[in-house]
């Protein structure tokens, strides 16, 4: 059993932020937890999957973030403490219901964690979800470490229950994926079942109810503003000096390391409870300092709050921040970026450590599909099908998942992607707006998440599109979580498996065929049929994710898998395999012929079907 659940009170654990927050929830009466996986929040779900059953609580991987939020909201409305988390863009999906929770109020604590991704490590944008607190009328807490992610759960539930509002906890990649020492308290899981008591004045959210509720929300937020001002979590780290630094989240860490390393005379105001903005706390800090640096990732939200306070109270202070160009507007910060900002605000030059330099150009190493990944075979077969039929200028919208990498060389097939589920919707639009053939690619989990309404739209709108569902039997890119297409749920229990094939048939898709992409010729033939079909065609390309399989095999022995090699006599250096198929296990050897790295080969045998000379064979 995981020590996240079993560790005794007072233990010091070495935890990822995303693990620490789970322990924090388990110590503070959690009953119901739900999520849709998304980096950088995914390990929270992985950890709950490990412990939920033993802890006697409920946890699910929901079909999407909106459902997850609704599960958590209903639990909190039924008197149970709940927790829901997602990556920043996941809150866009959940936002429709999120906006209404403040209006209906809740009855037990509810925490919504958003894991933002400055610098777009694993995301399509670097949106700053602190705006959502202002849109959705929810308090915001911003932790700076795994210990704080743990500790703030208690505080968040207290704020939530006092205000009857959900609390938004904003982490970033560098906090969720920061690992550190966490001192834990006693586990105290909440009761498993509550009761939904009806209240016709709150929960139906009719216009008349919302009209009244909005006024109440404004009063509640005014009360919370006083709490934010009194919060022990908003704290000055005094070093004495005329410069004051206002900061939060990971940026606080960078600021402190720079101030301490160079022994600078600058006080740091760490804001953790950042909405409602603690006006009096900040006003006092402004009065105590001649110069102010506001340092925050991504948007200048606190900086504009500070400027508003200066205006409101008629105070004159020099403010350094994003708006005057001192701090960069996009991307995550670092100690070096803070050092530059603090130097400018202090008007000093700090000593530079001489960094090593190199004139060598390094090879680009973008993420790629694993050796043996079924996506590679699917896209290869699709490309061949389009070429064989002589279709020119076809458009290939792809979706969010490992198969987003189809946009890279040599496939260049992820032509258009906006968000989860967008591939099929975009395909509808391309068909309506152009005469180009369109083939959308969507993963199994993404299909369930938000792809389905666009399939209905395509059938009803009579769009002539091909939808390829890459069913690799797992939610892969986020580390391998179960989804509705699998016979297992988030508690690790057996669950009904939903058939994608039956869904699309029921939706009225006229052409539905399932293929195994490991058989290239058969897959290409079905793709060609689909491309010639007069209506909506769906090809379900079904083959398990190789990463999951490899992990299973490595448990037994790494030597059980088939490994392929190249018959050097047969290889005529045509390079079709490396330039068109492009498997990371292949490389060009010193003799100019293709070779296979036995450590990377996963034995999928697709290269055997790709090679015109049949030069690949099983290694003996």
């Amino acid at each position: 059993m995981s020590d996240i659940l079993t560790a005794e009170s007072g233990s010091k654990l070495y935890l990822l932020g995303n693990e620490a927050v789970v322990r924090g929830a388990l110590e503070n009466g959690i009953s119901v937890a739900a999520t849709y996986p998304g980096t950088p929040s995914s390990e929270i779900g992985d950890t709950f999957m490990d412990v939920a059953k033993d802890a006697g609580m409920y946890f699910e991987f929901s079909a999407n973030e909106k459902v997850a939020l609704e599960v958590a909201a209903a639990a909190a409305a039924s008197g149970l403490r709940s927790f829901v988390w997602m990556k920043h863009v996941g809150l866009n999906v959940a936002s429709d219901s999120f906006m209404s929770i403040a209006y209906t109020k809740i009855r037990a604590g509810m925490v919504v964690l958003t894991a933002d991704d400055p610098s777009c490590w694993s995301s399509q944008n670097e949106q700053d979800n602190r705006w959502y607190a202002r849109l959705g009328n929810t308090p915001v807490l911003e932790p700076s470490s795994p210990q704080e992610m743990h500790d703030l759960m208690k505080y968040a539930y207290e704020i939530s229950e006092k205000s009857e509002l959900p609390v938004l906890m904003r982490t970033t990649t560098r906090i969720s994926h920061m690992r550190g020492v966490v001192t834990v308290g006693p586990v105290n899981v909440g009761k498993r079942k509550g009761e939904f008591e009806k209240d016709a004045t709150r929960f139906p959210i009719l216009p008349a109810i919302a009209y009244v509720a909005h006024k109440r929300i404004i009063a509640t937020l005014a009360e919370l503003a006083k709490d934010a001002d009194a919060s022990p979590w908003n704290k000055v780290y005094k070093r004495g000096g005329k410069l004051g630094i206002i900061t939060s989240g990971p940026t606080f860490n960078y600021a402190m390391d720079v101030v301490d390393e160079y022994d600078l005379k600058a006080d740091v105001l760490k804001l953790t409870y950042t909405y409602p903005f603690p006006e009096q706390t900040v006003l006092n800090f402004l009065k105590d300092h001649e110069t102010i640096l506001v340092a925050e990732e991504v948007d200048p939200i606190m900086e504009k709050e500070v400027l508003a306070i200066l205006g409101k109270y008629g105070l004159q202070r020099k403010i350094y921040g994003k708006l005057d160009g001192t701090m960069p507007m996009p991307y995550e910060f670092s100690p070096d970026i803070l050092k530059a900002g603090i130097s400018k605000a202090l008007g000093v030059t700090l000593p530079e450590k001489a960094a090593a330099t190199s004139g060598l150009t390094l090879p680009a190493r973008p993420p790629v599909w694993c050796a043996g990944c079924p996506h590679r075979a699917t896209f290869y077969a699709a490309k061949k099908a389009v070429e064989h039929l002589g279709i020119k200028n076809a458009v290939f919208p792809a979706d969010i998942g490992c198969y987003s990498l189809s946009a890279a060389a040599p496939y260049r097939m992820g032509d258009y992607c906006l968000s989860m589920g967008s591939s099929v919707g975009l395909a509808n639009g391309i068909d309506a707006a152009t005469d180009q053939k369109v083939m959308a690619f969507i993963g199994d989990s993404t299909f369930f998440h938000s792809g389905m309404p666009a399939v209905v739209n395509a059938v009803h709108g009579d769009h002539k599109i091909v939808i390829v569902v890459l069913d690799n039997r797992i939610t892969a890119m986020t580390g391998g979580q179960p989804n509705p297409g699998m016979p297992m749920n988030g508690m690790g229990e057996v669950a009904p498996e939903i058939s994608i094939e039956q869904i699309v048939k029921a939706m009225g898709v006229g052409f539905v065929k399932t293929v195994d992409p490991a058989n290239l010729a058969a897959t290409q033939a079905v793709m060609e049929e689909a491309l010639q079909f007069d209506g909506v065609a769906a090809v379900i390309s079904k083959h398990p994710c190789v990463m999951i399989k490899t992990e299973e095999k490595s448990e037994k022995s790494t030597r059980q898998k088939l490994i392929f090699t190249v018959d050097k006599e047969k290889c005529d250096e045509c390079m079709v395999c490396v330039t068109q198929f492009s498997c990371p296990a292949m490389f060009i050897d010193k003799d100019g012929k293709v070779a296979i790295d036995a450590e990377q080969c996963n034995g999928c045998a697709v290269c055997v079907q790709v090679c015109p000379q049949k030069a690949f064979r099983v290694r003996r």
Binding site: K12, Y14, L16, T39, P40, S42, E43, W121, S122, S144, S145, R174, H177, M178, R179, G180, V181, N253, Y254, M256, D257, E261, P335, D336, K339, E352, K353, A354, A355, A356, T357, S358, L360, T361, L362, P363, A364, R365, P366, P367, V368, C370, C402, L405, A409, M477, G479, S554, T558, M575, V578, T579, S582, C583, P584, M586, F587, I588, E599, Q600
Partner: protein, 199 residues
Amino acid sequence: MKNYCVYIAGVGGQGVVRTSVIIGLACVKKGVGIVMSEIHGMAQRGGSVPAEMKIGDAYSPIIEQGGTDLLISFEPAESLRAMNKLSKDTVAVVNTRPIVPVTVALGTSMYLDPQAYIDELKTKLKKVVVLDAESIALEAGNVLSLNMVMLGAAAATPGFPLEKEFLVAAMKDNLPARAMDANLRAFDMGFQQATKDLQ
């Protein structure tokens, strides 16, 4: 104490995160402070995967320009990826086995003779320990122990703040019991090779 900064470079799938977790756990066992930053998600699919950590009393795990005390690099070219975080005072432990990215076969990138990256590192850094960690791991009984060869070699470098007892205890907490013999052998062989190299 002054913070001791470790940068671990490698490629997704090589065990970078696991190695850094073991170092961190060893810090907890010794009772010294540790903060660490990992990369998860899409970048892990065969991309560059760095982990950085500060042992001591730092708030942030992110290493400043020139601030790395020890570089543990699982791959020759990757050892130069974060050159600006290294300085002439950095000690490095580097695995010789290249992992050539697909961009090379596609003709959009060059991969030099791996020795060229190691030679470059040697001219810029104080001390570079070079080892064929894969061969050593195979000799120890399991190629998957490559990361423990690297850890053993790192433990032998001057200034490394964690004694073997803490690292071994952390390994026992974090690695499967049935692979422990091979992992301990791999650690020792890495340690011995680096000790010899450093003399």
